[in-house]
């Protein structure tokens, strides 16, 4: 990247800048909520929490909301399809995404941007094209914000990440205190800045130096890590080792790790009848999809009553194997970006890093140890 493409915008101008493009874009920014930071629609009254560590719930919910209407139906008529074009957002079901506007996701952390590129492989892969995800995804410009202060639970460098990782984003921003340095990554990002050129000025050599120093410091702050070399091959041989009996033991079986995870994508599809003034309608309803979790017993319960993953052991194994073995097999990618959400929020302190170290070191010792 030639340095001439690096731009500077004053931090104090950013809100005005976003406000000036809100006619063209539906803008999502990190926002302080009563449950922590969450991505929400831009509001001029609310400043960007520039030093936020990361959002409580990953911004996967913008493309893949917790509940999403696939289509609605009415009894006695043929199915009314919205052609995959009407979307209902997580928090504001009334406020459907306007179809004319493009999306702008502003200020997501590089790991979460990388997670989008992983989800793209699933929802936009060769085998299946998910219109609900792709419709939103393809009209979105992603502006990420490099991490000046990673958390103690961050281990992105053990995967493919870095505090200034560019994958998945169109533009990456660097917080230089009073100034914001913007670096376009994709053609889309370049065009975005070009079109709004009046807000930016050329970055100086000193700005770039400052940015480099910040990133060096930031990288040093990521102290935890796991050597994941050949993890797929190693896990190929661990399906029935006795270690799983121990790993799951303290698991409570809640859905925190999967629901907060930026790469967990499992969902359930059900039909829900509409409510009319608090009363369940008998003739109108919606087919919805909502997040589901491999940690729940219902996830694999067969209609016969049989459950192939009857205990926490099988469910925990599924979660780890899916991310670190099946996804590498199917997509040639580990579906973990090292954001540490599952570690930080687990009620019983199950630490994914610890689990991975155990699994990686078990190989050589435990070949014959079967349960």
């Amino acid at each position: 990247m030639e340095s001439s493409k690096l731009k500077i915008i004053k931090k104090r101008d950013v809100l005005k800048f976003l406000d000036s493009i809100k006619k063209e874009y539906d803008i999502f920014v990190p926002m302080e909520k009563n449950s922590g930071i969450r991505f929400s629609r831009f509001n001029l009254e609310k400043d960007i929490p520039w030093n936020y560590r990361n959002a409580k719930i990953s911004p996967k919910e913008i493309f893949f909301p917790k509940t999403e209407t696939l289509f609605s139906f009415e009894a006695g008529t043929s199915i009314i399809s919205d052609g995959g074009k009407t979307f209902t957002s997580v928090n504001e079901p009334k406020d459907s995404f306007p179809e004319t506007k493009d999306y702008l996701i502003f200020g997501i952390r590089p790991c979460d941007a990388q997670a989008y590129s992983l989800l793209d492989k699933l929802f936009g892969g060769d085998d299946f094209q998910d219109p609900y995800y792709l419709e939103k995804r393809k009209k979105t410009t992603i502006i990420s914000l490099a991490c000046n202060k990673p958390q103690s639970t961050c281990f992105c460098t053990s995967l493919k990440g870095r505090p200034d990782n560019e994958e998945g984003a169109d533009i990456i921003l660097f917080d230089l205190d009073e100034d914001i340095l913007a670096k376009p990554i994709t053609k889309k990002g370049e065009k975005f800045i070009e079109n709004l050129n009046s807000w930016f000025k050329e970055a100086k050599e000193a700005d770039i130096e400052k940015k480099n120093k910040l990133m060096d410091l930031s990288l040093k702050k990521i102290r935890s890590g796991v050597d994941l070399q050949h993890i797929k091959e190693k896990l190929d041989k661990t399906f029935d080792i006795s270690l799983w009996n121990e790993i799951h033991q303290k698991c409570l079986g809640c859905g925190i790790c999967t629901y907060l995870c930026p790469t967990c994508y499992c969902f359930n599809i059900t039909d829900e009848m509409d409510h009319e003034a608090g009363v369940l309608a008998t003739s109108r309803g919606k087919r919805i999809r909502c997040w589901d979790s491999c940690m729940f017993p219902l996830f694999t319960l067969h209609a016969s009553g049989h459950n192939p993953r009857p205990t926490y052991k099988e469910r925990m194994r599924q979660r780890i194997m899916h991310k670190f073995n099946y996804c590498p097999e199917n997509f040639e990618e580990i579906f973990c970006i090292g954001c540490g959400r599952c570690i930080r929020n687990c009620p019983v302190n199950i630490d994914l890093r610890e689990t991975l170290v155990l699994l990686m070191s078990f190989q050589s010792l435990g070949k014959n140890k079967k349960n």
Partner: protein, 330 residues
């Protein structure tokens, strides 16, 4: 205290009195301990006891004694468990509800001096966004915290206690096989009780609004349910599909149905251990509702959970003069 615990556990294994011991081990994060399962003498060294042993360990017990296991004539394990006051009261509740056999338990009661609230501690130093606490060391009633910039802060443990611990009335269990430390019953005015009294004075609309605000944060991860020792149902009403009681969406009516249902099922059973509140990733104030139930059950039926093995739980009995107003005048 930890040496005493280890000594007892060692003896239990040596004399072949237990198959598994459930205690706490070192956590991987500052201010955290983690539930720890010990199956032999070699692992006893993993045990720790400090002010971070927040989890209610009773939650693990019913899984060892599922009805299908009893039916199969499987030899049920003998379990040793470290129990703080709250864990101990949960265990009593589970015994009375016939979920766990008393004879298969060896309860090491411990007088708990209260556990430290992680978020409170972080915020006492600085907001997480600014500076993160990366290590903590406990020394005689004080906690020495170190942040990511290597700055050290010393705080009094007492100021950092979890809300449930500040209000705790039974610091040690009342039913145990051996007790470590002295049993102390606190009698001081409960902060939460005062808060509830204030809250109750508010008009219905305001209280309803608060409830809605709180539960609207819910993402239905069911961590509150899973962390609760009382939520041992083979199949939760929220998971049932035939009939299906609750929609799967995050519509407020679906969320409320789950929360109200779960909370009401705690009447006369909740010991106010705070496991649900701590487990909730979204910071829902669940305790204001469960605590109200505790107060009501005490007021209407004079019953406190987990105090004795003999007294019949209020929901398992009926008396002619039972109070009815709570049904007719909410």
């Amino acid at each position: 205290m930890i040496e005493k615990i280890k000594e007892i556990v060692k003896k239990l294994f040596k004399e072949n009195k237990i198959d598994i011991f459930i205690g706490y081990g070192e956590g991987t994060l500052p201010l955290r301990a983690t539930p720890c399962f010990i199956t032999g003498q070699d692992d006893i060294k993993k045990l720790v006891w400090n002010s971070y042993c927040l989890n209610n360990l009773a939650v693990y017990l019913s899984g060892f004694f599922l009805p299908q296991l009893k039916k199969k004539d499987v030899k049920l394990p003998r379990i040793g468990i470290l129990a703080k006051g709250c864990d101990g009261r949960s265990i009593v509740g589970l015994i009375k509800e016939h979920q766990i056999p008393r004879e298969n338990l060896y309860i090491i009661g411990i007088n708990c001096e209260g556990m430290i609230d992680i978020e409170k501690t972080q915020n006492a130093v600085c907001k997480m966004q600014e500076i993160e606490i990366v290590s903590a060391e406990e020394k005689s009633g004080k906690v020495l915290l170190e942040d990511e910039d290597n700055k050290k802060t010393e705080l009094k443990k007492e100021e950092l206690l979890a809300d449930v611990c500040k209000d705790c009335q039974y610091t040690a269990p009342l039913i145990y096989d051996v007790l470590i430390g002295e049993e102390k019953r606190k009698t001081k005015e409960k902060e939460r009780a005062a808060f509830i009294k204030e809250f109750e004075k508010k008009p219905l609309e305001e209280r309803w609004k608060y409830f809605q605000e709180q539960v609207s944060k819910c993402i239905r991860c069911y961590a509150c349910r899973q962390a609760c020792p009382n939520c041992y149902c083979k199949e939760c009403f929220a998971d049932q599909t035939k009939p299906k009681w609750i929609g799967a969406t995050d519509d407020i009516s679906d969320i409320m149905f789950f929360q109200i249902g779960r909370i009401l099922h705690q009447a006369g059973r909740c010991v106010d251990c705070g496991a649900c509140v701590r487990a909730c990733p979204m910071g829902i104030d669940l305790r204001i509702f469960t605590y109200k139930l505790i107060e009501d059950v005490k007021e209407f039926f004079g019953y406190e959970v987990g105090i004795s093995l003999e007294e019949t739980p209020p929901l398992a009995t009926f008396k002619q003069d039972d109070k009815q107003e709570f049904i007719t005048e909410p």
